[in-house]
């Protein structure tokens, strides 16, 4: 995925025409939503857990420098190595370097959004190292040469048919119609990859500062194989993934599993502290933790949007977002999608590269209702909108931008002066005449209001606005009183 300018309007309009995609989105988001609702209702003090989750994340992020150093020391103490990567290029270079030092020619990967962010797979390919995704969804995406469209369900934009065709074409197997057969075919391939790989690359859901433990939740068991079978394990972890204490995990694992898939707990929860010890029977000989900044410390420096870093990547905001539900993940143009993508893509990429995303929301707030760490999405979106306006990076549509700036200035002058407001009201009433329709509406207004009237009627401006009616109303009410 390259760092091109995000084109939300263009890409979402294309996605909206894809009937198969939209059907899949509704069915998947409905399922996840219902599961989360059920699972969160089972916990009596769910809201209180979310508050505690937020408080711990807040304290962690406010003291990130301290906890990062604590994490580094803990990992070293457990026999692991720690690498700091300022940006994507540095992270790729570090990981390729570890592979070269270990004379690794093939790598298995478990699901990790951070590796998507740094485009690690292309870096491996450029270095002549084979890399295989082992999460089923990611494996499908890799075979298709695409990118994930959901944080926890990367291939939800693919139907069963798409996958049957893809597998028979890319794996040279018959067209299997049943998911079980497809899964079996993938499993057979992946088993041999696990056994031959010299290195396993994972992300992490949490990194515990006091113990140096990397925690990974999953349902397929592929991450456990990735982190234990090959002789080298590299975990790429965004610096915001820290929790201070081991005991914090019980809270965060509860919040994550129930918010993400509606499970009480994921099928596999792996706790990895350093490489194989002398007393262990198996496990990787080397453990490397690569801590990724890639724009995160810039978010940390902004008081208004800092809470974007509290995210634990559960995907609940995607599943509850009425916009994501229509347009899917690829419309957001970069690694992260849905409400969390709308707030962190512009911040990680640079706001000039994604000026449309903060506006890709009706500010309905459904995301905030389900966020396990109560990120105030509307507030952050509003602050980012202000940043876009202040920087004049605008939308991708120059014409629209011009209308907006002029429109806002005009609006401000009008509403600041009561007499102008009344005059504008009256003028607008007469101006609308050519577009009046018998049913009391306006049906084809000029640009930019055509963007409303193409598919919706627009109300007519009233002949007598409320402020012109008030005196009559007041008099009538008074007369009513006098009669009684």
């Amino acid at each position: 995925m390259s760092f091109e300018k995000v084109a939300f309007e263009k890409d979402s309009s294309r996605a909206l025409k894809d009937k198969k995609l939209r059907k899949a989105l509704v069915s998947v988001t409905d399922r996840f939503r219902a599961a989360r609702e059920r699972a969160s209702a089972q916990v009596g003090d769910w809201n209180e857990l979310r508050t505690r989750g937020r408080e711990i994340k807040k304290e962690t992020i406010e003291n990130l420098d301290k906890y990062l150093i604590m994490l580094e020391e803990s990992v070293k103490r457990a026999g692991g190595e720690v690498h700091w990567a300022g940006d994507a290029a540095e992270a790729c270079e570090t990981i390729i370097g570890i592979a070269r030092d270990g004379e690794v020619s093939s790598v298995v990967k478990s699901k990790s959004m951070a590796t998507e962010e740094i485009e690690l797979n292309s870096a491996f390919e450029r270095a002549g190292i084979k890399v295989v995704e082992t999460d089923l969804g990611e494996y499908i995406i890799q075979l298709a040469g695409e990118h994930p469209s959901h944080i926890i369900a990367p291939a939800i934009h693919k139907t069963k048919d798409d996958i049957s065709l893809l597998f028979s074409e890319k794996l040279g197997i018959p067209y299997y119609a049943e998911p079980e057969e497809l899964t079996k075919a993938a499993r057979e391939r992946l088993r041999s990859e696990f056994l031959s790989a010299g290195m396993g690359v994972s992300g992490a859901n949490f990194a515990v500062a006091e113990t140096g433990t990397i925690v990974i939740v999953e349902n397929e068991g592929n991450a456990r194989l990735t982190t234990t079978v090959p002789k080298i394990h590299v975990a790429l972890v965004g610096i915001e993934k820290l929790v201070p204490r081991y005991q914090d995990l019980s809270l965060f694992l509860t919040l994550l599993a129930r918010s993400a898939t509606g499970q009480k707990s994921s099928t596999y929860v792996s706790f990895t502290t350093g490489p194989k010890r002398d007393t262990d029977t198996d496990g990787p000989k080397e453990f490397h933790l690569v801590l990724l900044d890639n724009g995160r410390s810039a978010i940390l420096s902004s008081e208004e949007t800092r809470e974007s870093l509290y995210c634990i990547r559960c995907g609940a905001c995607l599943n509850n977002c009425p916009v994501y539900r229509q347009v899917g993940g690829h419309s957001y143009g970069w690694v992260y999608s849905g409400p969390i993508g709308a707030i962190i893509n512009p911040q990680l990429m640079g706001i000039d590269k994604a000026p449309e995303l903060p506006f890709a929301s009706s500010l309905c707030g459904a995301c905030r209702d389900v966020c396990p760490v109560k990120i105030d999405f509307p507030k952050v979106l509003l602050d980012l909108r202000k940043q876009v306006v202040d920087k004049k990076s605008g939308t991708n549509r120059v014409g629209w931008h011009l209308f907006e700036i002029l429109g806002i200035k005009f609006w401000r002058i009008v509403v600041e002066h009561r007499s102008l407001y009344e005059a504008a009201n009256k003028i607008a009433y007469y101006l609308q005449t050519p577009w009046k329709k018998g049913n009391g509406n306006l049906d084809s207004l000029p640009y930019p209001l055509s963007r409303w009237t193409n598919e919706r009627d627009f109300p007519q401006i009233a002949k007598k606005p409320f402020h012109k009616r008030w005196i009559r109303i007041k008099r009538e009410l008074g007369e009513g009183k006098n009669k009684t």
Partner: protein, 260 residues
């Protein structure tokens, strides 16, 4: 409260909103008529224009601050009303009410003297249904209407103000109606202010789903407490010639009957 109403000591200043003023003045009239019937004295400050929300949501905070300050200046008069009356600001929009009650605090968080006025005004400002039920303690205003009604939760009203029960209580008390809850009643209709023209394709696809839910509910009238949502929903219903009416809750409550 009944006692206070009988003594005529409750006074409501109508913050009519620019949308209602310009496009739907009858909604403002309904608010006044319902309040008057209940024994609330109403007043309208003619200087009022817009609270600034459209520009605020578009990121033009500096322009909004000027407009919001003007709003505060206009409505500050309410605070100086003599002590024999209990005064409130009542608004027929969950969205504009949340602009004043919630977002003004963010807008002026660096300006302590204005923040102080914001807090005082916020404490007096109520969305129309919230005012009826939680301030006046009235759920039955004595209205009558024949029809099958469903209620659309507007996002700001539900999630910024936390007001969702009061409109339903009021609707259920209207004589002659049948109430039916639509599926996904709390899902956004796709309006979102300028969002509706910034990303019209996305907005309309959200609206499609809302219209589906409304149609499936079997209602012949969709009620809401925000004209923004209703002009979006109503605009699609009339364009598609679907014979379902949209109605602001104030218009519903002003229908028929007298206060008993």
């Amino acid at each position: 409260m009944q006692n206070k109403l009988e003594k005529n000591v409750i006074k409501a200043y109508i913050f009519v909103t620019c949308l209602v003023d310009t496009f739907f003045p009858e909604v403002g009239e309904s608010v006044v008529r319902v309040l008057d019937r209940l024994g609330v004295e109403t007043e309208f400050l003619e200087d009022q224009t817009c609270c600034g929300q459209p520009a605020f949501n578009s990121g033009y905070q500096d322009d909004v601050r000027v407009v919001a300050e003007r709003f505060l200046k206009v409505f500050e008069r309410v605070l100086n009303e003599g002590s024999e009356k209990e005064v409130y600001i009542v608004c027929p929009s969950g969205s504009c009410t949340s602009m004043v009650k919630v977002f003004y605090q963010e807008l002026f968080h660096n300006n302590l003297s204005l923040l102080n006025i914001v807090k005082k005004i916020s404490a007096r400002t109520f969305e129309f249904t919230d005012f009826l039920v939680n301030v006046l303690n009235i759920t039955d205003v004595g209205a009558e209407y024949g029809g099958v009604l469903t209620y659309h939760d507007s996002c700001h009203m539900l999630r910024e103000l936390g007001v969702g029960d009061t409109p339903r209580e009021l609707i259920r008390s209207v004589k002659g109606i049948e109430f039916t809850e639509m599926e996904m009643h709390d899902a956004c209709c796709g309006f979102g202010g300028t969002f509706s023209v910034k990303f019209p394709d996305v907005s309309v696809s959200m609206l499609d789903e809302k219209i589906d839910c409304i149609t499936k509910s079997g209602a012949d009238t969709v009620v809401s407490a925000d004209m923004g949502c209703l002009m979006n929903i109503g605009g699609a219903l009339s364009r598609r010639k679907i014979p379902i009416k949209v109605m602001h809750i104030a218009d519903l409550l002003a229908k028929g009957g007298k206060v008993s």
